[in-house]
Point group: C2
Chain length 151, copies 2
DNA sequence: ATAGCAAATGCGTTTCATTCGCAATAAAAT
DNA sequence: ATTTTATTGCGAATGAAACGCATTTGCTAT
């Protein structure tokens, strides 16, 4: 409908060709509150009646990630790469070991720690990745009996 | 030689059978300053004249990890799982994007942050994983021209 | 609009780390 | 020493992701 809606344009502006598939994939990720695997995206497209090859989904998320429209994340414990719409905010993740839901955390407690570390190690720090594991309110009750691993 | 040397005994005490392979694997990891992949362990055993099947290495590190004698880590950007001798110290990692060397960091800047987060989110926090990316002193010069991604 | 070119797609094939099945072997228990 | 049970070797299977190539589509410059 809305031709000037960000998403489709963002793809064009990125230098990638603006195809139906890429637009749909980016929209799906933008709407999802959870990062998704390539296969989940593929299945959702199927549900929406959009025929696509799984290879294409893999190639689409890869190119979108290259253009920074999508972020790829590898959370320990899942062997599949997750993709999320890049909302351009530095984020961390709180992963529930019970239901595997991923909750984003806006606050970064490491801002000045990075500087200390740079001074101490003489490294040039580019960034960091922090994932916190635990049990969400819903899963806390079961957690007591089935404490799952996280490392 | 030293029958009471920690490593071999630790395996026995863990409930696992104390085999030559497991002992060697654990010794290799204990001596290594870098976490190693299953294949690297396998190759090193070959160099040391110890015939072993790669499957066995995979099964050994898996069982040793289960018994907490080794720790498995999945650093973003490598598709292979790394294993390290478990020195029973909470650690973080500083990964050089130039040479891929991994340096352990003893200090944890997140001790009380976890409590704040628990209070704020009502999650039961089990732990966290922090990886910091950058360029080591040796690689800093090249870093300027070839800034690699870290996700 | 149209032609021409570069990029994207479909479909099948391949790669590669890791896992598995099962018979043979070695370690612990008796 | 004999039995019991876990470990190993080897090859085959798995599964996510990458790839090759012929076909199609989006974009650009007429
Ligand atoms: Mn941060
Ligand atoms: Mn920590
Ligand atoms: Zn949960
Ligand atoms: Zn380096």
């Amino acid at each position: 409908m809305d031709k000037s809606s960000g998403i489709a344009n963002d793809i064009g502006r990125s230098g990638l060709k603006r195809t139906k598939h890429r637009t749909v994939i980016l929209e799906i990720l933008e709407k999802s509150d959870q990062p998704m695997t390539a296969e989940q995206i593929f299945l959702k497209m199927g549900q929406e009646g959009i025929a696509v090859s799984l290879s294409t989904v893999y190639r689409a998320v890869e190119s979108l990630a290259q253009k920074k429209l999508v972020t790829a994340l590898e959370i320990s414990g899942s062997n599949k790469t997750l993709f999320e719409y890049n909302r351009k905010i530095h984020r961390h993740y709180l992963v529930c070991l019970g239901c595997r839901k991923i909750r984003a955390i806006a606050h970064c407690p490491l801002k000045d720690y990075e500087e200390d570390l740079a001074a101490e190690t003489d490294y040039l720090i580019s960034g960091h990745k922090l994932v916190i594991y635990g049990y969400c309110p819903d899963c806390r009750k079961n957690a007591a009996m089935t404490p799952k691993e996280w490392s």
